[in-house]
């Protein structure tokens, strides 16, 4: 009978079943929620989520006919929503009538949506507040008295803005600015354009009290008051890193609200902000995690007697105190657009590169090399698909990580650093020491030249042009040149970088990554034993793997994003993806007050247990570094650089450059195109006990600063257009880099 019944299922019913089982899998996988066979109060409605363009109001309109709802929960970026009825019967009724219901298209939603409904016993856990906070987040409940809170609320005059730029009604909330206007168009404040009204004096006590906690180092000079009606929210965002200092305070008044914190790797923590509480975002929670408020009319909060309950939202007002950054020098530099930073002539440029590129790479070669073993995927693919027998030059080959990826082609590497070339030689690769401005390779003899992460080390436009021209010279007509440079824009189309996504990894993915690498290497030429090398690295470096990648956060759109390959500054120790240490070595008598803050972060390894799973995996390293460098957030300052060199003239020169070039801070937006990026060299002789007693000079001796000119969008292509016989066949953005594929055009 049962079989007979099944065959009688209509087409629509079958479709519904199919859709339901798909949703069952999705829900279980992403939210850990099991679909119930028996009716419950809560419906999960697929295709009625924000991701499908359906609004909360639409859902309400359709579902309210079948009974009173407690709430309708719309989750960002999900195709489904949750409808919570007061009674199971109502939910069942709605299920019967609406499963398979199609909501027509609207002006804003181009296509119609068919709802597929399932019963669930709970909503995703991420919707209920957690006790866990993102690293660096401080929540101080009952920070001020209700009475003081009320006085603060009463002091806001929404009706009469004293100054036009001060108050705006945004789509989903109402805002008022003091001190400086946060200009939403540019996602920034203009330090030269203060508002007539500073932070009202009534806030002084809050500020004073907040500073006393020690969590905030800067006295705020900007206040934004946001007011949210129930059902209003704010999209996930990161406060523009370059606009405000670390330590952003938000005082909640009126109703409670649940704030969602999301890490780019997908972690999601909901934090309940009770009235009169102060939230302080510092470090990772300020720079990496986005925060937002889901538009809801209620929040799921812990019930007094245990369990969870639904609390309706009321009017909530938040006072956000921030300290704007003042970097006038770099702003000016930025305004000068693509012009090189003030380098008088080519000789000076060469000297800068000598001190801050060539010498640095020679000094850090071993350490640097130990961190670079995975080819960047797109370049790897490009080399893999070249016809057998292709002759390829890798200019700026570093430790030769691309030289062995395809044993059917012949690759010759060249690098300015003798120590890096020595590593290539030891790996049995063909490599020479030469300068990109004078490549000693035959003209028109190579099928392909690649130049990865090199040209950004040249300090004038003229020199960058000459480098490109040299690359073109050595390739045959119709030959290709692939160039990668580091991008000023570290975020594009709000796409989360691979870099960020890589942060979270479990043993399984790690193994997969490892075995992939292994296969690739095994397939490739040469006798270089990758796994062996990894083991060696692990034992030799006893504590450490550092990185290749520098991560920057750019946030033109006030949303989180950090990415990129490249070099980095931190030495990181790891144990099963947990970072224990970092060193940031700038301590100097001349360092100003705020960079003294950085010296507070001279924390080095307390414990290190070598972990086979986390060493030798670049992804792991990158992940660790990402976590770490936030903790060592420093202020951009022009500080004196000590590169462990004793030559007094060099010292003088270094100081000269240091005065002109800013030292870049990890995980912050590039403030100018010409920068110095620190590399923290691990000292093998240090052991755990010594580390804490190390004096500052020792630490400084291990910090090296490399010069970079980061490229703006279009700059690389524009440069290429100035060259003869050069056709840009492709240009793209790849993980924080701008890339071009050039073809040498045949002369007719």
């Amino acid at each position: 009978m049962a079989a007979l019944k099944d065959t009688k299922l209509g087409k629509t019913e079958k479709k519904l079943k199919k859709k339901q089982s798909r949703l069952r899998r999705t829900l279980l996988k992403h939210d850990g929620i099991e679909i119930q066979d028996k009716p419950t109060k809560i419906l999960c409605v697929n295709n009625a989520g924000l991701d499908t363009g359906v609004t909360r109001d639409e859902v309400f309109e359709v579902f309210c006919k079948y009974g009173e709802t407690d709430d309708i929960m719309m989750l960002p970026k999900k195709p489904y929503c949750f409808v919570c009825y007061k009674l199971v019967e109502n939910a069942e009724e709605a299920y019967i009538h609406l499963n398979g219901y199609t909501i027509p298209a609207t002006d804003t939603r181009k296509s119609s949506c068919t709802f597929y409904i399932s019963f669930v016993s709970k909503v995703p856990e991420s919707l209920s507040p957690s006790n866990k906070l993102p690293p660096g987040l401080i929540l101080l409940p009952d920070f001020i008295s209700e009475e003081y809170g009320q006085r603060l609320l009463d002091s806001i005059n929404w009706k009469e803005p004293t100054f036009q730029a001060q108050q705006r009604d945004l789509k989903h909330r109402r805002v008022k600015h003091y001190g400086f206007e946060f200009k939403y168009g540019i996602n920034n404040v203009d330090p030269d354009d203060p508002l007539p009204d500073g932070i009202p004096t009534i806030c002084n006590d809050v500020i004073k009290q907040a500073l006393q906690t020690g969590h905030v180092k800067f006295t705020p000079d900007q206040l934004t008051i946001n007011q949210y009606e129930p059902g209003q929210g704010i999209p996930p965002h990161v406060d523009t890193p370059s606009a405000f200092e670390d330590g952003i305070m938000s005082l909640s008044l009126g109703s409670q609200v649940v704030m969602d914190f999301r890490h780019p790797d997908g972690q999601h923590l909901s934090v309940l902000l009770p009235p009169c509480s102060l939230l302080i975002m510092t470090g990772e929670s300020r720079y990496v995690w986005s925060h937002g408020i889901t538009p809801c009319k209620s929040d799921i909060i812990p019930a007094p007697g245990g369990g969870l309950t639904l609390a309706p939202r009321g009017l909530r007002t938040s006072f956000t105190f921030r300290k704007i950054t003042r970097v006038k020098e770099s702003r000016k530099l930025e305004e000068r657009d693509c012009k090189q930073c003030d380098l008088e002539n080519d000789a000076a440029a060469a000297e800068l590169e000598k001190l801050h590129v060539h010498q640095v790479y020679d000094n850090i070669a071993d350490h640097f090399s130990g961190t670079r073993h995975s080819p960047w995927p797109r370049i790897f693919e490009f080399l893999k698909q070249l016809p057998a027998g292709s002759l390829v030059a890798d200019i700026g080959c570093g430790n030769g990580k691309y030289l062995g990826v395809n044993n059917q082609i012949c690759m010759i590497g060249s690098d300015r650093s003798q120590n890096l070339v020595k590593i290539c030689q030891e790996r049995n690769y063909l490599a020479i020491v030469s300068d990109i401005l004078s490549i000693p390779l035959r003209t028109e003899s190579f099928d392909v030249a690649i130049c990865i992460a090199v040209i950004h080390h040249l300090s004038t436009k003229d020199r960058r042009l000459r480098a490109l021209s040299e690359l073109l010279r050595i390739v045959r007509p119709k030959g290709k040149v692939l160039v990668y440079v580091w991008a000023m824009e570290q975020e594009l189309h709000q796409v989360k970088s691979k870099y960020l996504k890589e942060k979270h990894f479990d043993d399984k993915t790690e193994q997969t990554l490892l075995s992939c690498d292994q296969q690739e290497v095994e397939k490739s030429a040469g006798s270089y034993n990758y796994l062996g090398e990894m083991t060696r690295l692990q034992s030799e470096s006893e504590a450490c793997t550092a990185f290749i990648r520098e991560d920057k956060k750019c946030s033109a759109t006030e949303s989180p994003n950090i990415q990129s390959f490249h070099e980095c500054t931190d030495t990181v120790e790891s144990q099963n993806h947990k970072v224990f240490t970092i060193t940031h070595g700038h301590s100097n008598k001349e360092v100003t007050e705020s960079s003294n803050k950085a010296t507070d972060h001279h924390i080095m390894v307390d414990h290190f247990v070598p972990s086979s799973s986390s060493i030798g995996n670049e992804n792991a390293c990158v992940a660790m570094e990402k976590m770490v460098s936030l903790d060592t957030k420093q202020t951009d300052l022009q500080i004196d650089l000590v590169n462990g060199c004793t030559d007094s003239q060099s010292e003088k020169d270094k100081k000269k450059w240091a005065k002109r070039l800013e030292v870049h801070v990890n995980r912050t937006q590039f403030k100018q195109q010409d920068i110095l990026v620190p590399w923290q060299l691990k000292n093998k002789n240090q052991n755990n006990k010594d580390i804490k007693s190390e004096n500052d000079e020792c630490k400084d001796a291990n910090t090296f600063h490399r010069f970079y000119h980061v490229f703006k969008r279009g700059e690389l292509e524009a440069l290429c257009r100035e060259l003869e016989h050069c056709k840009v066949v492709n240009s793209y953005y790849d993980q924080g880099n701008w890339a071009v594929m050039l073809e040498k055009v045949v002369e007719i």
């Binding site: 027998g389 010759i412 020491v433 300068d435 004078s438 000693p440 390779l441 035959r442």
Partner: protein, 124 residues
């Protein structure tokens, strides 16, 4: 430095030097290392080589005995030729020595198997 690398090197980066090719070799230490023979790879590589420069380099390092002076017409199928090419291009390794610019006599050192082709500022 393998001779395959040498074959691609030039000193035309020196100011005033037009061709700078081929570079002379003054060997001080030359090693011969076994490398797996891959006839397909060699067959594809031979056309990229300047064969007269290969011969000259082989002579400079004293390993030109029995090396064909010209590329065999049917080299892709000529195992004997490919083996000779394999040996001269991939197995001979100049560990220590100098490379000499044919036009100016400027020497570039080869040490630990790595040619250093860096110029002084005034030379470029």
């Amino acid at each position: 430095m393998k001779l395959i690398t040498h074959n691609m090197l030039t000193s035309n980066i020196i100011k005033g030097v037009t061709k700078g090719y081929p570079l002379g070799i003054i060997p001080r230490k030359v090693e011969v290392k076994d490398v797996d023979y891959n006839p397909e790879f060699l067959a594809r590589m031979i056309p990229n080589m300047d064969w007269s420069a290969v011969c000259k380099a082989a002579k400079d390092v004293g390993h030109d005995e029995g090396l064909p002076k010209e590329i065999a017409p049917n080299f892709t199928e000529n195992d004997e030729f490919l083996k000779a090419a394999h040996h001269v291009l991939l197995e001979i390794d100049v560990v220590e020595g100098d490379l000499v610019c044919p036009e100016t006599g400027r020497k570039f050192p080869v040490s630990n198997g790595v040619p250093n082709m860096l110029l002084k500022e005034e030379e470029a």
